[in-house]
């Protein structure tokens, strides 16, 4: 289960309304690379991770993404809340107002509603974690696009902070990927640090890593459970 804390993970206090930015920012809530997709992706993938490292990391990062949904939603809410009807029309947000008034709703920057087809679960840890690494990079790139589109320091601060979280999460997922990939290469050697070191030195190219990992999948499946 989850327990709510009545606080944001990072403070948000936007003083100036900005409907244009609200319209753009909402994509990090309900867009294809947004926080809602991230949370649902990790919290659905975690059940079929092969060991407790994967279950723990996907649970904890998935939970943090819920806090990021709250941050993005807070930013959109604060940017919109004092807007007049005329301002909403001028910003092209009248379709949103027609459906939702000023309520939150997960869409991308074009107003396209969120869909679960933005993420996948395959039951294959290498495939799932590869997607997670890509998702963090794409979210980082979108945060950079959004940072390029504003000069309000009240908006920039949280965007820079959220972008940095994508960098951290990417590196954690990459570590997990290489750990599983190392296990598949040599399931009899359970020294994780040795495995990870040799994997990293041999495979700087991620596509090689994926390919090598897949070719060892059967061996992995046969050996994994008994070695945990």
């Amino acid at each position: 289960m989850w327990a709510y804390q009545k606080r944001l993970q990072y403070p948000i206090n936007i003083k100036n309304k900005d409907l244009r930015m609200a319209k753009l920012l909402v994509t990090q809530y309900g867009g294809s690379n947004g926080e809602l997709a991230a949370a649902l992706r990790y919290l659905n993938q975690r059940y079929t991770m092969p060991d407790n490292k994967g279950k723990a990391l996907l649970t904890d990062i998935g939970t943090e993404e819920l806090a990021h949904i709250e941050m993005i939603s807070t930013m959109v809410y604060q940017l919109m809340k004092d807007a007049t009807i005329e301002e909403i029309k001028a910003a092209g947000l009248d379709p949103h107002y027609a459906e939702h008034n000023k309520a939150l709703y997960p869409t991308d920057a074009n107003g396209v509603p969120f869909t679960v087809t933005y993420f996948a679960t395959t039951g294959d840890p290498l495939a799932d974690i590869s997607e997670d690494m890509a998702a963090e990079q794409k979210a980082r790139a979108v945060y950079e696009n959004l940072i390029d589109l504003t000069d309000d320091p009240d908006v920039l601060g949280p965007l820079l902070w959220l972008r940095q979280r994508e960098v951290v999460h990417f590196n954690r997922f990459k570590e997990l990927f290489e750990y599983y990939q190392g296990k598949m290469k040599n399931p009899t050697n359970m020294d994780a640090s040795t495995q990870l070191k040799s994997t990293s030195m041999k495979n700087n190219n991620i596509m090689d890593s994926i390919s090598d990992g897949l070719s060892n999948m059967n061996q992995f499946l046969n050996n994994f459970n008994t070695k945990m």
């Binding site: 804390q5 009545k6 943090e64 920039l156 601060g157 820079l160 902070w161 951290v168 999460h169």
Partner: protein, 142 residues
């Protein structure tokens, strides 16, 4: 936006070299600096253009306590993610427990003075203060 040469030349993927995976101690920021940056791990930090992280400051005693709570809770969370992958790292476990304990103490102090942040708080025993203070999205310092 970066161009491709920047990715190569500014060591965009330098953090994927296995310096953390040899079980060398990662180079950590303080909870204050790490919270400002959104990253406790100096070897993972990656800035964007010339933007600098905001140096968060408190204007009064309530904000100061809240900011301190946020810093230690964040530092503990960062070590939580690290320990998920390195549960055998006793040095980092000790630091996690230090930050976790301080975050819990700061949370109790804050709730005692300013009202509950969780609905399991002891501060709800005499009256239902859960609805009293502002909600996080309503602005102010949180």
């Amino acid at each position: 936006m970066y161009n491709y040469n920047d990715y190569l030349s500014n060591q965009y993927f330098r953090n994927t070299t296995p310096n953390m995976m040899n079980n060398n101690q990662p180079n950590l920021y303080t909870p204050e600096e790490g919270y400002n940056k959104g990253n406790l791990f100096a070897n993972l930090y990656l800035g964007y253009k010339n933007y600098k992280p905001v140096k968060l400051q408190a204007n009064n005693e309530k904000d100061a306590l809240f900011l301190e709570l946020s810093r230690y809770a964040f530092a503990a969370h960062e070590l939580n993610l690290y320990l998920d992958l390195h549960p055998e790292d006793t040095t980092m476990l000790a630091l996690f427990n230090d930050y976790r304990t301080r975050a819990n103490q700061l949370m109790m102090n804050y709730e005692n003075k300013y009202g509950p942040l969780t609905v399991s708080s002891d501060e709800l025993s005499s009256s239902f203060l859960w609805e009293e203070d502002k909600w996080p999205w309503e602005g102010g310092k949180r």
